[in-house]
């Protein structure tokens, strides 16, 4: 078998794509990795922000996997292009707001484009770590051909971990890859992958419970839908979707939402947004930084101040001084009576 063939692999940072690459490397295929950043990726963001994650190693799993495999990894910013995938998924949503199948089609399509843009490097085909039946929508036997067709990859898309359950692709038919040395994994049982990982000597790998996307998360998705509903528009910017990952989100009025830090790490993170958003925090007691997303009227400042005071150390005090700063204006200080726990209606929590 010739070793002149090259593949580009979609690397998520999880075990499956790691195994898929190693399976081909074992056959002498040269592989490089590609990873797409949509803005919704579950990576180091929350670890970097929150104090409670300080013990977790702050590593990008895709980079870490690439280094373990000894391959180059190209990380591509697709934040803008991904908006259309999220807002207009042709195949609908999977769990919560996850445009599961459209997302996979989009990523393989981007890989096809990347291969064309880098044709001088001679990539022959694309691989993924997909396993039939592992995901409820994008990784089904009937949807896998849809991904291959609609992405434009056609039969140059090889899934080494479940290839034996699918029709032979061009790399197999042409003998670039030995089909007999590929796998027939299927279903949600992870034991075959764990066994293969052991065989390859991989003993450290990421196993994110909900996949690698915040859009599969119910809480995150409900915050996103709330944002769209409040703005009467589904437009979003990167800052919007990053802020959905941070703090308590409380909407006391339809026109504005408060994002209240849950620890010092989040307070520090929100401080970085004070030039863009109205912000408030207690100056008489220790407490969280909060920012206002939306349009708050001056008459609602006492309400917002009493809410932020409820989450600080002055929550049992009669009065708390709160500094409120509207961007491009001097800060003002008001005395607020901290709201009692039971006074914050559950329906305000987004």
């Amino acid at each position: 078998m010739s070793s002149a063939h090259k593949a580009v692999a979609l690397i998520s940072g999880g075990l499956d794509s790691m195994l898929a690459v190693r399976v081909l490397q074992e056959q002498g295929i040269e592989v490089e990795g590609i990873n797409f950043f949509t803005g919704f990726c579950v990576e180091g963001h929350t670890h970097a922000i929150r104090n409670q994650h300080k013990d977790k190693q702050k590593r990008n799993n895709a980079l870490w996997v690439a280094e373990q495999l000894g391959i180059k990894l190209h990380i591509i910013d697709v934040i803008e292009e991904y908006k259309d995938v999220l807002l207009n998924p042709k195949h609908g949503y999977g769990a919560n707001m996850n445009p599961c199948l459209d997302c996979k089609i989009f990523m393989v399509k981007k890989a096809v484009e990347w291969v064309k843009e880098n044709h001088m490097q001679g990539f022959d085909f694309i691989i993924t770590g997909e396993v039939i039946g592992q995901r409820p929508k994008s990784q089904l036997k009937r949807t896998m051909p849809i991904v291959a067709a609609e992405s434009g990859a056609e039969d140059l898309l090889l899934r080494p971990l479940c290839a034996k359950n699918l029709q032979p692709t061009k790399p197999e038919r042409e003998g670039w890859v030995d089909r007999n040395k590929l796998y027939d994994f299927h279903g949600r049982n992870r034991k075959p992958q764990i066994a293969l990982a052991k065989q390859f000597g991989f003993d450290d790998f990421a196993t994110p419970a909900g996949g690698c996307c915040f859009l599969t998360d119910e809480s995150y998705s409900s915050k996103l839908v709330d944002l769209w509903t409040a703005r009467n528009s589904r437009e979003y910017e990167l800052d919007d979707i990053m802020l959905l990952k941070v703090g308590r989100h409380i909407r006391p009025k339809a026109d504005f939402k408060m994002i209240i830090a849950r620890d010092a790490g989040e307070s520090k993170f929100l401080e970085g947004y004070r030039k863009q958003f109205t912000s408030l925090y207690s100056t008489s007691h220790n407490g969280p930084m909060a920012i206002i997303d939306g349009d708050i009227e001056q008459q609602d400042f006492p309400l917002a101040a009493s809410i932020v005071a409820r989450f600080g150390q002055g929550r049992h005090a009669d009065e708390v001084e709160v500094e409120i700063t509207v961007p491009d204006n001097p800060p003002r200080h008001i005395q607020a009576c901290p709201m009692k726990v039971e006074q914050v209606p559950q329906e305000w929590y987004v």
């Binding site: 990873n35 950043f37 990726c41 990576e43 180091g44 963001h45 670890h47 970097a48 922000i49 190693q57 702050k58 590593r59 990008n60 895709a62 980079l63 870490w64 690439a66 280094e67 000894g70 391959i71 180059k72 990894l73 190209h74 990380i75 591509i76 910013d77 990053m242 520090k268 970085g272």
Partner: protein, 75 residues
């Protein structure tokens, strides 16, 4: 030999890596890029990215709340 600076402050992982990657693509072997970040994840991610692409980390400094990573572009 060029010496450039890149401001990646307030960007969270993996954006500092993407910015570094894209800037390095415009540079030549031996050029120096000094990247300023605030995400502590950059301390592991930029060196990891540099290692797999054959670039060298000349220096990593943590100063107040900022991280300054100096990359020497490889061949």
């Amino acid at each position: 030999m060029k010496q450039l600076e890149l401001d990646a402050r307030r960007l969270l992982c993996p954006l500092p890596v993407i910015k570094t990657q894209n800037k390095v693509a415009e540079l030549s072997s031996g050029d120096i890029l000094k990247v300023t970040c605030t995400d502590p994840g950059a301390l592991s991610d930029i060196p990891a990215w540099a290692r797999i692409h054959g670039h060298k980390i000349v220096e990593s400094i943590e100063e107040d709340d900022e991280i300054i990573i100096t990359v020497c572009v490889g061949a």
